[in-house]
Every structure is written in C-alpha cells, then in structure tokens.
C-alpha cells in the first residue's frame, strides 16, 4: 500500500513573543535564522500513513497536535523536513473560517464550497444535502452573522464533509454541537471512513478516538514519542499523565512550608523542562493554575 502522507524529519518553529519590529531589524541585517525565544512546536516528526488509515493524534494541550494537522492541511509550512501529501485534503479545522457574516447562508455555502474546490454543478447537486445535514433550511436567506454558534459549526461541518477529498482532518469539531448533531456527525464520519478516506483525528475524548481510529500517534513536547495501535498510544499517554500527577503530589508533600497554606501558583511537572507551548493553543487551556477557586491568599479580600 503506497502511503498518502509521508513526513520525514518534519519541524516547525514559532516565536514566543510577537515582536515584529525587532525582526525587521534582523531582516535588514540579514539575520533571520536562529533567534532567541524561538521554539520548535514540532521537530523530527517522521511517519507514513497509508490510504484508508484512521489515525488519532494523542497528547496534552500545546504538544503540537493541531500544528501537525495544519501542516498536513497545507495551511502552515514546515521549517525543516519534508512532507508529502498525495491527494486533496478536507480540513475540518476552523470550519466556520470561510464564511462571511454579511452574506446569507445560501451565498456562503456557494462561496465556501467553491473555495474548497467544488464546481458549480457539484455544488448545485449537493446543495440540498448540505442544507439538510446542517438543519439550516429555514435560515437560508438569513445573514450568517445572525446564526448561533452551533448552527455555524453545523454548516461548516456539513460543507467540508461533502468534499470529495481523500484525506479528512478533524480537529475537535466533534466536541461542539448538541448530542443529536454529534450522532449525525459520527454517522457522517463512519460513511467517510467506509468510503476509504484517510482520517486524521485530534480529540481529547478517548471514546471518540476509539470509535474511529485504529492507529495512534502520541505527541509530547513537539516530538513523536509513540506510533502504533491506538490503545498503546492512549496507554502511554495515560501513564505519562499519571506519572506527572504523582510527581506533583510528591512535590507538594515535600513543600517545606511553615504551616502556611500556599496557593498553587504553578503546578510543578505541568510545565516540564523542554515542554513547549504552541501559539495555537486555546486561551487558558494550558495556563498554569495560578489560583484555584476557593483558595485564597491569607489577607486577601474575598470576592
């Protein structure tokens, strides 16, 4: 079976701070590589994925899962290594990104489907199906900005999953939407999979991962530390998380505090040495807990 995705020594780096003007100076001086504050969100990633495989990406927040997905989607470019993707990609990443608030749902479907490469006739043929699946039939002539967030995501999911692309990338979209819609999404995903599509799934939901994926890639601090059956990846991940928790407890027990109850300012172990944060992480997702609710510094006014 020839691989549809080949990654070899793949790496991408980000800057910790977004000091743009500083960099203009660098460019003038001809110095654009290897600056301070640069970190590798992904490095030395090598793997191959065959046609029809369903791969789950496992790992904590900010470990590079979404970044890898974006590289495969071609919306980020690697700084080193090689990545070959044979065939088109249907990216379920920022699914609502292509929609324009001022235009109606109808116009938006035409535009977004067109932007993803569907022809006029293809869109016309699938239009009703897209509308039905997203359950927005009554709001076709409503400007998109009046849609609820759930409706927006439904429409986005519906449009992107009607694409014929052989590779489907899914980043946490299954987490949104109500239960009924999630069931429909599962159905649609199963259809895609049985149609021989290659699937990449990012999720923190183990049930979702188990439902679709057979193979797991475990990303930790931007490196690929596990590649094998999904269960193995999940086991390693769980073991890692458990070890970290234990370490944290041990550290807390050793705290040579003089009886004073200190609020947890930063959980040791959460931010391992060498553990990197990625720019694309959700706000607050991995931020160390500075103060737990209910815990207060002595002397601090309540509320």
């Amino acid at each position: 079976m020839s691989p549809v995705i080949e990654a070899e020594g793949l790496g991408i780096s980000f800057r910790r701070n977004r000091a743009r003007n500083q960099r203009l100076r660098d460019v003038v001086r001809g110095r654009t590589k290897s600056r301070k504050g640069e970190f590798w969100a992904l490095r030395d990633i090598s793997f191959q994925v065959g046609a029809g495989e369903a791969v789950g990406l496992v790992g904590g927040n900010g470990q590079g899962k979404s970044t890898l997905l974006k590289l495969i989607a071609g919306v980020l470019l690697p700084d080193e290594g090689r990545l070959k993707v044979h065939g088109g990609v249907a990216p379920l990443i920022e699914v609502t990104g292509g929609f324009v608030g001022d235009l109606t749902a109808r116009d938006n479907i035409w535009l977004t489907a067109g932007l993803h490469g569907l022809g006029r006739r293809q869109i016309a043929a699938r239009f009703d199906e897209i509308v039905d699946f997203a359950e927005v039939g009554d709001f076709l002539d409503t400007p998109f900005r009046h849609f609820s967030s759930g409706m927006k995501v439904r429409l986005g999911f519906s449009v992107v999953t009607t694409l014929d692309e052989p590779i489907v990338l899914v980043d946490e979209v299954l987490a949104v939407g109500d239960r009924a819609f999630r069931e429909k999404c599962y159905g649609r995903m199963n259809e895609l999979l049985s149609g021989g599509r290659t699937l990449f799934l990012v999720s923190h939901n183990e049930a979702d991962l188990r439902r679709f994926c057979t193979r797991g890639l475990y990303l930790k601090a931007g490196s690929l530390v596990g590649d094998g059956p999904l269960e193995d990846a999940l086991t390693t991940y769980r073991a890692d998380v458990g070890r970290r928790r234990k370490k944290r407890k041990a550290a807390a027990a050793q705290d040579p505090d003089t009886g004073e109850q200190r609020p947890v300012e930063q959980r040791p172990g959460e931010q391992q040495p060498g553990e990197q944060r990625s720019l694309e992480q959700q706000p607050g997702a991995q931020r160390p807990v500075e103060q737990r609710p209910g815990e207060q510094r002595p002397g601090e006014p309540a509320g």
Partner: protein
C-alpha cells in the same frame, strides 16, 4: 504539497484555481455593493471628487498651464488608473490579514489573495470608466484610434501591481512600518506621476539634458507609471505621446517587479502563516 512543488507546478495550481479567483472577485463586489446603500456611487465618487477638486484649482482658480483641454478628461485618463494603483497597494497590504481565517482554513495557493485584490480593484476601475465617457461627451473630447492601446496599458499595469502586491502583502502583514511607509510613498508617487500634468509638461519646463539625456526621459525612466499613464492618455490626447521607450521601460520594470514580488512572497509565506 504546496510547500514542496516546483515553481512551474505552483503556477499550474494557481491556474487551476482561476475559478476560485473569479469567485473571490465576485464576492468582493457582492459584499461591497450589498453592504452599502450607495454601492456603485462609492466606486465613482472618489475619483470624481478628486478630479473635480484639481480641475477647479488648476483650471478655474488658476490659469491652467499644464496638461491639455478639456482638463477634466485629461485628469481622469490618469486618475482612474491611479485609483487602481492606489487601491491595490493599500488593499494588498491587508490581503492576508483581512481574511486571515479564510487564508488559514484553505490550502489554496496563497498568491491568490493578492491576485484577488488586483482583480477586484481592476473591476472597480472598469466600472468607473463610464464617468470618463460622460465627461468626454460633455466636453466634446475627441476619442482617437489610440484607444486600442488600453488593453496593453492595463496589462502592463496589472503585472506591475501584481509584483508590488506580492511583495507588500507578506511584508505589511509582518511589519507594521510597511503600511505607514507606503502611505507616504503613495502620496509622493501621486504628485510625481503624470496625473495632474503630462510628461510633455516636464519636457517643456525642464528643457535641459543631464549627461546628454533629456530630463523628461529621465523622469519617464524613473517612474514606471509614467509610460503606462501616457499610453492610457493617448486615447484622447495623442499629442502627449512621448514614444515607445517609456512604455518599454514600464513593461521591463513591471516584469522585474513581478519576479521580485514572487520571490519575496515565497520567502515570507511560511512566516506569515504562523503570524496571522
């Protein structure tokens, strides 16, 4: 994979995406005309007002010693293509950040966001031409056969603007100084281009040679817009014609700028994608 393909195949993917380009341009027009009551009026109001002010100052208040009569037609011949230039330079600097979500969620060849700016501003330029036609009829300006050069002038200008846009789009996204700098450059360029006056006015005012080259020639060889605007103007004012050398220079400059633009765009593309 976009990142690894050779330039030729990249051009190929761009060509395959031409339908999407069309779609984007028509979306721009749709949004523009759907979101404002006056719609089309806005397209023509700006050049019209500009032309009116300059016409009033130079031909009513002062005794006009530059250009040719009817001055309003003379002005508009270069003012409309100038609006195109101005629109593309300003628009391309926002091309990648304005629709950042779209840029991030589709793997289209990214040059398309610049081409889309060039294209939709061109359509607006075309839409404004009826204004020129109306004034030409009212003032009795004579249309000459040289109007056939219009596609040539527009073609050279399109290449020039694409090159400039490709270079500016990533740079302006990454460095906040670039848009500020370009605002000044645009203002200077407006007065240094043959819009309010013709290349001939330079020749008659500064009838001198520098190192054996007439100043008017140097002028035309420094600003690539000179030859282009001169070519546009021929449709109504064939006497303004200064010869093919200026046009040839514009064409060469345009191609060189396009090649530079392509290189700059490629170089900074990855960086821009991380930043938007």
């Amino acid at each position: 994979m976009v990142a690894l393909v050779e330039p030729t195949t990249r051009l190929g993917t761009l060509w395959q995406s031409r339908r999407i380009l069309q779609l984007l341009i028509s979306r721009d027009l749709k949004v523009k005309y759907a979101s404002s009551v006056l719609g089309y009026v806005w397209t023509i109001l700006d050049p019209l007002m500009m032309a009116f002010v300059y016409w009033f100052v130079f031909s009513v208040l002062m005794e006009r010693t530059i250009g040719e009569a009817p001055y309003i037609v003379f002005l508009l011949c270069a003012m409309l293509p100038w609006q195109w230039t101005n629109g593309v330079v300003r628009g391309s600097m926002r091309a990648l950040s304005k629709d950042a979500k779209l840029v991030r969620s589709t793997s289209l060849p990214r040059e398309i966001w610049v081409l889309r700016t060039v294209g939709s501003k061109f359509v607006e330029f075309l839409f404004a031409i009826p204004v020129l036609a109306v004034f030409a009829v009212f003032t009795g300006a004579q249309l000459h056969w040289q109007v056939v050069y219009f596609p040539l002038a527009a073609g050279i200008q399109a290449v020039l603007l694409t090159g400039a846009g490709l270079a500016l789009a990533p740079l302006a996204t990454l460095y906040g100084d670039v848009p500020r700098l370009m605002r000044i450059v645009l203002r200077l360029l407006f007065y240094f281009s043959p819009i309010l006056y013709g290349i001939n006015d330079i020749a008659t005012r500064f009838d001198k040679d520098v190192l054996g080259v007439p100043i008017a020639d140097i002028y035309a060889f420094v600003n690539p817009l000179a030859g282009i605007f001169d070519l546009y103007r021929m449709a109504f004012f064939p006497d303004q014609w200064v010869g093919w050398s200026a046009v040839l220079f514009s064409a060469v400059f345009a191609v060189v700028l396009l090649l530079i633009g392509i290189r700059v765009f490629r170089r900074f593309e990855g960086l821009v994608l991380k930043e938007i």
